[in-house]
C-alpha cells in the first residue's frame, strides 16, 4: 500500500530534479530571510548563485546543534512569528533543549512523511493506534497523533507512563498498533505478565518503535514476547519529529527525498563516505519554511542505501541507527557504542531485556561494568551456573568491543525501567 503512490515511486532522476530545484530555492530563501544563514554565507563567501546542482551541496556549511543553541530562541527562523503555528522543543537527550518552529505547511509535510511511512508498514483506517510517546514539547506524541488521524485510523493519545492503564486500554479497546520506545514496549510486555496476562492475548499486531537506538536482537525479543511485528521509526525534533519508518520489507527506513536531502559523512573529516559505509547522517530540509536546515548534523550514525527497495519505493533508505556520534563512549581509548553492548546481550537467552552500563575510573584506568538481569526463565542451581554465564557474557563483549568489561548478573526486575528514552549509561568518570 502507498500513501502517495506517484511520488513514492518516482524515478531517481525525477527525484533529483525535484531536489535540485528545491535546494536552489532553499539556499536563496535562507540567504534572504534567515539572519543566521545570511551571516554564515557572507562569512564564508558563499552566494546562492554558487549552488547550481546537487553536486554543489558540499560547498555549503554544516549546521550544528550548537548553532541552534546560540540562536535560541528565534534566530534560526526564516519566517515572521505570525506565520509560525507551533513550537516544539527537543527532548534534550544531550545538552539543553532547543526550540523548533513550524508553519502550517511544515506540519503538513511532517504529517505527509509519517503517513507515507505508516502506510508502508500496513497501518490503515481500521487500526486503533495507541500513542505511548510523550505528548507535549516532545514531537513523538503529536507527530504520530496527526498522522494516525490523517490516515483515518483511530488515535488513542495515552502518552507515556501509567503502564497498567496502557495495558487495560489496549485490551479493552482492541488496540492494533502501538507507537512507543522499544524499551517501553519490553517493559509493558513484562508488566502484562505480572498482571497475569500477555500482550499476545490482545489484538495488537504491530508496533512502531523509535526515539532511541535499538538492535535487531531487541526487535526479535519484542516480536517473540508480544507476537506483534516491530518496525523502526526515525526522526528528530529539528527535522520536525518522527518522519521515516521501515516498510514491510524491514530493510532500512525510507527517507522521503522530495522533502529531505541526505548524506552520510565521516563525523571527523566531514567528507561523504561511500555507500554502505557507516557514518553520520546529515540532512538538508528541502521543504521546511519556518526553520530550514542546511546540512544538519543529526549526530546519528547509520548506513546509506540507494538501491530501490523491494516494496517498490525509489526513495533512499538508511539502515537502523547504530548509535549517536555523541553517545559513543571512549573506554580506554576504544570507541564503544551502547548499541554494540545491547546487540551482544540480546543474543544471550539467559539474560533479561534490561541492562545498565556503568563507567568508572580505578587507579586512572577506565572500568566498564555491564549490569544485566538474569532471565527469570533459566534453571540455576549452582554458583558455577552464574559464574559460567558471567564469563560467557564477558567473553562475547570482549570479542565485539575489543576491550574487556566486567559483567554483573543481577536479580530480575531490579534494574531501572524507562517509560521514555532509556538512559542506560552512567558515567562516573571524572576527567
Amino acid at each position: 500500500m502507498f500513501w502517495s503512490p506517484t511520488i513514492e515511486r518516482l524515478t531517481v532522476n525525477e527525484l533529483e530534479r525535484i531536489q535540485e530545484k528545491k535546494l536552489k530555492n532553499l539556499v536563496r530563501n535562507a540567504y534572504e530571510y534567515s539572519p543566521f544563514y545570511k551571516k554564515k554565507f557572507r562569512e564564508l563567501g558563499i552566494h546562492p548563485t554558487d549552488i547550481q546542482s546537487l553536486r554543489d551541496l558540499v560547498k555549503l556549511p554544516f549546521t550544528k546543534k550548537q548553532d541552534l543553541r546560540d540562536n535560541y530562541p528565534f534566530g534560526m527562523f526564516a519566517v515572521p512569528l505570525s506565520q509560525i503555528v507551533r513550537f516544539h522543543a527537543s527532548s534534550g537527550t544531550t545538552g539543553k533543549p532547543t526550540l523548533v518552529g513550524y508553519t502550517e505547511d511544515d506540519i503538513k509535510v511532517w504529517v505527509e512523511s509519517l503517513c507515507r511511512g505508516l502506510v508502508s508498514c500496513g497501518v490503515n483506517n481500521e487500526d486503533i493506534m495507541q500513542i505511548a510517546y510523550g505528548y507535549g514539547l516532545f514531537t513523538g506524541g503529536l507527530g504520530f497523533h496527526y498522522a494516525a488521524e490523517k490516515i483515518g485510523a483511530t488515535a488513542l493519545p495515552v502518552s507515556a507512563g501509567n503502564t497498567e492503564r496502557q495495558i487495560n486500554l489496549m485490551r479493552d479497546l482492541g488496540v492494533t498498533v502501538i507507537a512507543c520506545t522499544p524499551s517501553y514496549m519490553l517493559y509493558m510486555a513484562e508488566f502484562a505478565e505480572k498482571m497475569g496476562t500477555s500482550l499476545k492475548e490482545t489484538k495488537l499486531r504491530m508496533g512502531i518503535f523509535g526515539a532511541e537506538p535499538w538492535s535487531e536482537e531487541t526487535r526479535k525479543r519484542i516480536e517473540d514476547k508480544t507476537g506483534i511485528i516491530a518496525y523502526d521509526v526515525y526522526g528528530t525534533s529539528e527535522l520536525s519529529g518522527p518522519l521515516f519508518t521501515e516498510c514491510i520489507e524491514k530493510n532500512g527506513l525510507h527517507i522521503w527525498a522530495d522533502h529531505f536531502l541526505i548524506e552520510v559523512i565521516d563525523p571527523k573529516t566531514g567528507e561523504q563516505v561511500g555507500e554502505g559505509e557507516k557514518g553520520e547522517l546529515v540532512v538538508t530540509t528541502l521543504s521546511k519554511e519556518a526553520m530550514p536546515l542546511i546540512r544538519w548534523r543529526t549526530g546519528d550514525i547509520t548506513i546509506l542505501e540507494n538501491e530501490k527497495c523491494n516494496c517498490g519505493r525509489t526513495h533512499p533508505r538508511i539502515m537502523r541507527i547504530l548509535g549517536r556520534s555523541d553517545d559513543m563512549l571512549i573506554v580506554r581509548g576504544v570507541n564503544v557504542f551502547p548499541s554494540q553492548i545491547e546487540h551482544v546481550l540480546m543474543q544471550i537467552p539467559e539474560v533479561g531485556d534490561h541492562y545498565m552500563i556503568i563507567l568508572d575510573r580505578e587507579e586512572n584506568l577506565d572500568v566498564m561494568t555491564v549490569q544485566v538481569e538474569l532471565s527469570d526463565k533459566v534453571s540455576i542451581d549452582k554458583p558455577a551456573d552464574i559464574l559460567n554465564l558471567t564469563k560467557k557474557v564477558e567473553e562475547r563483549l570482549r570479542v565485539v568491543l575489543g576491550i574487556s568489561a566486567k559483567v554483573e548478573i543481577v536479580n530480575p526486575g531490579t534494574l531501572q525501567r524507562f517509560e521514555g528514552k532509556a538512559k542506560r549509561v552512567i558515567d562516573k568518570r571524572k576527567i
Binding site: 527469570d376 533459566v378 540455576i380 542451581d381 554458583p383 552464574i386 548478573i409 536479580n411 530480575p412
Partner: protein, 137 residues
C-alpha cells in the same frame, strides 16, 4: 527423591528478606535451608512444605527460581551416619556436588544430596535401605 527450590539472589542487604517475605506471606514452612555464596551473589536452596505454591509465588514475584529433584536419605540421628552414606557413594565413584542435612522428630535425620550420577546413586542408596521415599510435610 524430594523437590528442592533454588533461588538466585544478589549478595545485597535485604535480598534474603525479599525471598523470605514471599514465603512468609504464602504461609510456606521451611524444612531445610542453605545458601551457597559466591561473592557478589548466592544461590538459596531449600526444601519446603508447599513446594508448588512457593515456586509459583517466587516466580511471580520476579525471582529466578528453579525446581529440581534431589536425593534424600533418611538415617538414625546418631554418629557415623553421614560417613556411612558418603563412603558408599565415594566407593562407587559417585561425586557429591553438595549436601545439607536437617533433623526433625518426624524424619529422624534427613540428608539431602546432589550428585553427578543420580540414577546410580539412587540404586546404591536403595540397596543400602536408606533412600527417603516419604513426603516432606
Amino acid at each position: 527423591m524430594i523437590k528442592q527450590l533454588s533461588v538466585f539472589v544478589e549478595n545485597k542487604p535485604g535480598r534474603l528478606a525479599s525471598v523470605t517475605e514471599v514465603l512468609f506471606k504464602k504461609g510456606v514452612n521451611l524444612r531445610a535451608f542453605m545458601i551457597a555464596d559466591a561473592g557478589d551473589f548466592g544461590i538459596i536452596r531449600m526444601v519446603v512444605d508447599k513446594t508448588e505454591e512457593a515456586f509459583n509465588a517466587l516466580r511471580s514475584a520476579g525471582f529466578t527460581v528453579t525446581l529440581n529433584e534431589v536425593l534424600a536419605v533418611e538415617v538414625e540421628d546418631k554418629p557415623g551416619e553421614l560417613h556411612r552414606i558418603s563412603k558408599v557413594l565415594g566407593d562407587e565413584g559417585i561425586n557429591i556436588e553438595y549436601v545439607y542435612a536437617f533433623t526433625s522428630e518426624k524424619h529422624k535425620a534427613l540428608i539431602i544430596f546432589r550428585v553427578d550420577d543420580i540414577a546410580k546413586a539412587k540404586a546404591v542408596l536403595e540397596k543400602l535401605g536408606v533412600l527417603f521415599k516419604g513426603k516432606i510435610e
